[in-house]
C-alpha cells in the first residue's frame, strides 16, 4: 500500500488557506497561467492555437480560470485525488499529452501568485502543504501516461 502524499495536517492547512483564497480562484488561475507563459516561454508551444498569449488576453484568463476551478474542486475532494481526477487524468494522458515537467512550472506560478495575493496567509507551512498538494495533483494527472 503506497503511503498517502498528504497527511491530515496538510489537508487542514490547505482547506484553511483555500477558505480565504477561493473567492479569487479565477484571478489566481489567470495570473498563474499568464505568468507561466511569460516566465517559461517554452510552455507557449502548447498554445499555438491562441493568437494572443499575453497575461491579460481573453484566452489566458478563461483557461486560467478553468484550471484553477478544477484545482479548487480537487481541494474539496482531497481525500481521494485519483478518483476525483480520473477524467482529467485520461484527458492529459491521451489527448493533451502535456510533458510532466510543465506541471512543475505551472505549480510554481500558482504558488508565486498565492504568495503575491496573500502575503500574510501564505506562510511557510501553507507553502509546504500547497506544494505537496500540487505535486499530488500532477502525479494523479500523469498517472496514465505510460
Amino acid at each position: 500500500m503506497t503511503k498517502k502524499l498528504l497527511n491530515d495536517d496538510d489537508k487542514a492547512v490547505i482547506s484553511g488557506f483555500w477558505g480565504k483564497a477561493s473567492s479569487r480562484a479565477a484571478e489566481i488561475g489567470a495570473d498563474a497561467l499568464g505568468r507561466m507563459l511569460v516566465v517559461y516561454p517554452q510552455t507557449k508551444t502548447y498554445f499555438d492555437h491562441w493568437k494572443d498569449k499575453s497575461p491579460s488576453s481573453h484566452n489566458v484568463r478563461k483557461h486560467g480560470k478553468k484550471i484553477m476551478d478544477a484545482i479548487g474542486d480537487a481541494i474539496t475532494l482531497m481525500g481521494d485525488l485519483n478518483n476525483a481526477l480520473l477524467e482529467l487524468s485520461q484527458l492529459h494522458a491521451f489527448t493533451l499529452r502535456v510533458d510532466p515537467s510543465n506541471f512543475k512550472m505551472l505549480s510554481h506560478n500558482i504558488l508565486v501568485v498565492m504568495a503575491n495575493y496573500f502575503p500574510d496567509d501564505f506562510t511557510p507551512d501553507v507553502h509546504l502543504a500547497m506544494d505537496k498538494f500540487l505535486a499530488a495533483v500532477a502525479r494523479a494527472l500523469s498517472e496514465r501516461y505510460r
Partner: protein, 147 residues
C-alpha cells in the same frame, strides 16, 4: 555570455536597492528549510531546527540568510560576468561545503516567492521573468565548478 537589456538591468537594480536584507534573507532561507526539509542536512551545527517555529526564530539561520542574500550583491554589480564572479564561491560550495547544486534552485524558488509576497502588484510577470532569469544565472554559476 548572458545578454541583459537596459530594462532588465533596471529591474534587478531596483529590486536590490530597495531590498530589506534583514527581512528577506531570513525569510527566504527559513522557508527553504521548512518547505524542503532535506536541505536541513547542511545546517547540522545551527541549533534547533525541530519544527517550523524553531526554524523561523533561529538566530543562526536568520544571520545566515542575511549573509546568503548579500552574496547576491556581487552578481548585481557584475551582471555581465556572473560566471567569473562566482567561480571561487562555486568551488567553495563544491569542495568545502559539499552542497548538492540542485539545492540552489530550491533556495532560488523560495527567494522568488518571498519577493513576490513583498512586492505585491509591483511583481509583474515581466519583473518575475527578469528576477528568475537573474537567479537562474546565479544558480548556474554556482554549479559551474563542480566536477
Amino acid at each position: 555570455m548572458v545578454e541583459w537589456t537596459e530594462q532588465e538591468r533596471d529591474i534587478i537594480n531596483s529590486i536590490f536597492s530597495s531590498l530589506d536584507y534583514e527581512d528577506i534573507g531570513p525569510k527566504a532561507l527559513s522557508r527553504c528549510l521548512i518547505v524542503y526539509p532535506w536541505t536541513q542536512r547542511y545546517f547540522g551545527g545551527f541549533g534547533n531546527l525541530y519544527n517550523a517555529n524553531a526554524i523561523k526564530s533561529n538566530p543562526m539561520i536568520a544571520a545566515h540568510g542575511i549573509r546568503v542574500l548579500h552574496g547576491l550583491d556581487r552578481a548585481v554589480k557584475n551582471m555581465d560576468n556572473i560566471k567569473a564572479t562566482y567561480a571561487e564561491l562555486s568551488v567553495l560550495h563544491s569542495e568545502k561545503l559539499h552542497v548538492d547544486p540542485d539545492n540552489f534552485k530550491l533556495l532560488a524558488d523560495c527567494l522568488t516567492i518571498v519577493i513576490a509576497a513583498k512586492l505585491g502588484s509591483a511583481f509583474t510577470p515581466e519583473v518575475q521573468a527578469t528576477f528568475q532569469k537573474f537567479v537562474a544565472v546565479v544558480v548556474s554559476a554556482l554549479g559551474r565548478q563542480y566536477h
